[in-house]
Amino acid sequence: MKFDDYIYDLSSPGRTGVDLPEPDVPPTPIPEEFLREDLPLPELSLPQVTRHYLRLSQKNYAVDKGFYPLGSCTMKYNPKVNEWAVRLPGFANIHPLQHPHTVQGAMGLMYELQEMIGEIAGFDAVSLQPAAGAHGELTGVLIMRAAQLARGETQRHKVLVPDSAHGTNPASTSMAGFTAVEIPSDKDGNVHIEALKAALDDEVIGIMITNPNTLGLFESNIVEVCELVHEAGGLVYGDGANLNAIVGIVRPGDLGIDVMHFNLHKTFSTPHGGGGPGSGPVGVTAELAPFLPGPIVALNEAEDAYIWHYPEKSIGRIKSFYGNFGVMVRAYAYIKMHGAEGLRRVSETAVLNANYLQARLLQMGDYPVPYGHRFCKHETVAQGKIAGAEDVRTLDIAKRLIDYDFHPPTIYFPLIVHEALMIEPTETEDKETIDAFLDALDKIADEARENPDLLHEAPHHAPVRRLDEVRAARHPILIRLPSAKAASER
């Protein structure tokens, strides 16, 4: 593929990509002292802009191009009708501060979404305000803190986090002002019950638990975990990142989870956008409902109108306005298209696909599956440890998969699995695709033994070869402007 120009390299003085009308009002002079001398933006024509970004797009891998089994990310197909929906003027061109009477459609959609995801996961109240999963975690931990403080339990400051958890869990704990305490996993990949018991005391706010966990396993002791934490006066936070495995199968709220975030951009099919926007609504029990961030939408039954409601002991606003509304519209459409039956089918198929993939990996034998003695849920974790190819690492296998036109799985996570390859096929993949992926892994295992350098030097068929990440971090070049030298640390 052609080396692409940097955007400023296409610039020539005098070009513009947008013509704007002349003022239709008498002009008002602008005081000189405010004006900037130079505005170093590029000068491009519209055809140049179009080609530049189109060519950049072609250097991306994406769900619309092929299999993207990135574990814990739920890279499922994004329905196109959702993209149509968010562009309707009645959604795209409404201002968040309009009078509620002029946006009853939007507020009604939000209300119904709050109700539907509460129903799906078994919670009494939902705030749609958080903008992403990690943002929902921060919200949830702050809610737990506020509830504990309201009980007068000021001594509690520790949050238990299993060693298999996403990094966002301990990071969110710290941001909320708490101390993260790691809890090990047992040999079956569950939370180690004895270790949990030992850690529980009156300083514990609660536990953050991902279920299914990042090993792709259902926490079979989940009810006991919740009971133990509750007995110690703690609360249970559910990380909803892996909800795609259990929609219509089990409701986290029924299991004893007190507060949970949803990733609308995972379970409910909204596109990841190359790293956002996501949306991380938080659902809570009735006991915690007064602490939700506001405003949320409530229904005023007397007037049959939707109104903004601030929960009475709210932790406060966590984002401007109401959350990522455009993402909510997509999730709403997705849930409405599926209904209860369709959503259960989604989770069943996601789990079927993952178990088929795991079963075939076990048959192949080239990639150890450390928890292969259990059925997995939406994903399985294998290891890039190919017998007879000891100098080949997971990174090499991942890069070689690119040459076979697959996106690699999540690698080196969870941290408790050495050389991890975390594979999540999702329900929107067909059997042929999963088989082709497994065939590629099979061939790569042979290549690893016969010609390891083929893997060490991979990818060979990508827009660029392996990139020097050490150099990027050691001498960071984070912007490049034509006039000045690139900013560097010294």
């Binding site: 089990v250 790293g275 956002g276 989604v346």
Partner: protein, 461 residues
């Protein structure tokens, strides 16, 4: 089910490979008492049905393609050229994940690097991250970053009362468990000297907005003096700004800001009822290792060819866990892409013109409204595209008249956030407002001033 490709034959073959009879066997580790709840959800809909329903829901909202609007207050109706949607609608961009595999993510990565560069040019700063959630959370991240830069020895944040009320609220929500103090906005004294007086040896950061929430512009000299005074006290200065204003005005990077944040929505992103938006976050290179959020850096590949990667990730949660500078994972990548395409298409001439048009139209509107006997434009300082109008009666009543009689969405009612201003309305005028709309607004305001007005009082509450 149209999104699930497996056939019954596929399912049978796969179950056989797994060695189970049915899919139910895969869920035996889920507690039986809670398995398979009866979810009370509406019946599934076909694509045809959902399109019809969504069309109807959308039609219940008064949208700005049909209604003239003078509402701003942190979300702005600026022109979005068609090219922006063309690009962000490409599946290669919007159906990709965070670029963890750089070799097959060069599109996302180069676009993000170019976004960082163009926003650095716009703000006059040395580094721009790949985005935060919005203008409010960017302010909160700035406060946390400043405390980290000061190694937690300084823990007070001084905020201006004319920083967006919602940004101040979000800031307080973020840091409620962090043993930090937020002061400065208890009074409505919008004077930098008052802020400077509050800063002491516990102050990590002073945060102001320019143009401020009430639309007013502080001169570059005033801003430089503020920065000097803040720095003399050993604190840092963060400026929350309007990226469109920077098409015309001297940027914060040229008057001493250490951190610049902004709501980037107006750069090519639709209003979309408040989100998804774009948190712009810029700072000085010397603070890069204390910064939050994703950063894209330039490097080379194994053949020496230029390429881009996510870098300095040892600051981030997936490496550093509880010691990370922030918990952020997903950001607003597609909104940043929209901003990049917008900036590239507008370029240096287009953006300046958008800012000029907004200035001229807003000033025309202010002059005409100020001529009305019952209204007065409050103007202590120059303003950009928003200004405060003192009204003869409650803003909610006036806005209702505007909407019902003229189909005009009026300005933001300041009485909740700034009660001392009385019946004050914050009006916003951009390049999207025609002279005809402005003249209609003036006529409508004039009529709305005259009592008695026939009001639907129930709706006005």
């Amino acid at each position: 089910m149209r999104y699930i490709p497996l056939t019954d034959d596929d399912r049978r073959a796969m179950l056989e490979t797994i060695g189970v009879e049915s899919v139910d066997d895969l869920f035996q580790d889920v507690p039986a008492a809670f398995r398979y709840p009866e979810l009370q959800l509406p019946k599934p809909m076909t694509e045809m049905e959902i399109m019809r329903e969504l069309d109807m829901i959308a039609a219940e909202n008064a949208n700005l393609r049909e209604f003239a609007s003078f509402l701003g207050a942190g979300a702005y109706n600026h022109f979005v050229p068609a090219i922006v949607d063309t690009i962000i609608s490409r599946g290669e961009f919007y159906t990709a994940y965070t670029p963890y595999q750089p070799e097959i993510s060069q599109g996302t990565l180069q676009a993000a690097f170019e976004y960082q560069s163009m926003v650095a040019a716009l703000t006059g700063m040395e580094v721009v991250n790949a985005s935060h959630y919005d203008g409010a959370t960017a302010v909160a991240e700035a406060a946390i970053m400043a405390v980290n830069i000061q190694r937690h020895k300084r823990r007070t944040i001084v905020v201006s009362p004319t920083l967006h009320p919602q940004y101040r609220e979000v800031l307080r929500t973020y840091v409620q468990g962090m043993d930090m103090k937020i002061i400065g906005d208890e009074t409505h004294d919008n004077d930098f000297h008052a802020l400077i007086d509050l800063a002491d040896d516990d102050t990590a950061l002073v945060i102001v907005q320019n143009p401020d929430f009430l639309g007013q512009l502080h001169t570059p000299q005033e801003m430089q003096d503020l920065a000097d005074a803040v720095h003399a006290k050993g604190a840092l200065l963060a400026v929350s700004t309007d990226p469109i204003a920077l098409g015309l005005f001297k940027p914060p990077g040229q008057y001493g800001a250490d951190i610049v944040t902004a709501e980037g929505q107006s750069l090519g992103n639709s209003l979309s009822f408040g989100g998804p938006y774009l948190g712009i976050f810029a700072f000085r290179m010397k603070h890069v290792r204390k910064s939050s959020g994703r950063l894209v850096g330039e490097t080379v590949d194994a053949e020496g060819k230029r390429g881009y990667v996510l870098t300095l990730s040892t600051r981030e949660q997936h490496i550093r866990r509880e010691k990370a500078t922030s918990n952020i994972c997903s950001n607003q990548a597609l909104n940043a892409l929209a901003a990049a395409v917008y900036l590239a298409a507008m370029g240096k001439h287009g953006l300046r013109k958008v800012a000029e048009l907004s200035w001229h139209k807003a000033h025309y509107a202010a002059q005409e409204i100020d001529k009305l006997a019952d209204y007065q434009v409050i103007q202590d300082k120059p303003f950009f595209k928003e200004f405060v109008v003192q009204c003869p009666r409650p803003v909610a009543e006036i806005n209702q008249y505007l909407l019902e009689e003229y189909g005009i969405i009026g300005g933001y009612d300041l009485s909740q956030d700034y009660p001392h201003l009385g019946h004050a309305m914050l009006l916003c005028v951009t390049e999207m407002n025609t002279r005809e709309e402005i003249d209609d607004l003036v006529t409508a305001l004039s009529e709305a001033a005259r009592p008695p007005i026939l009001l639907n009082l129930e709706a006005a509450s």
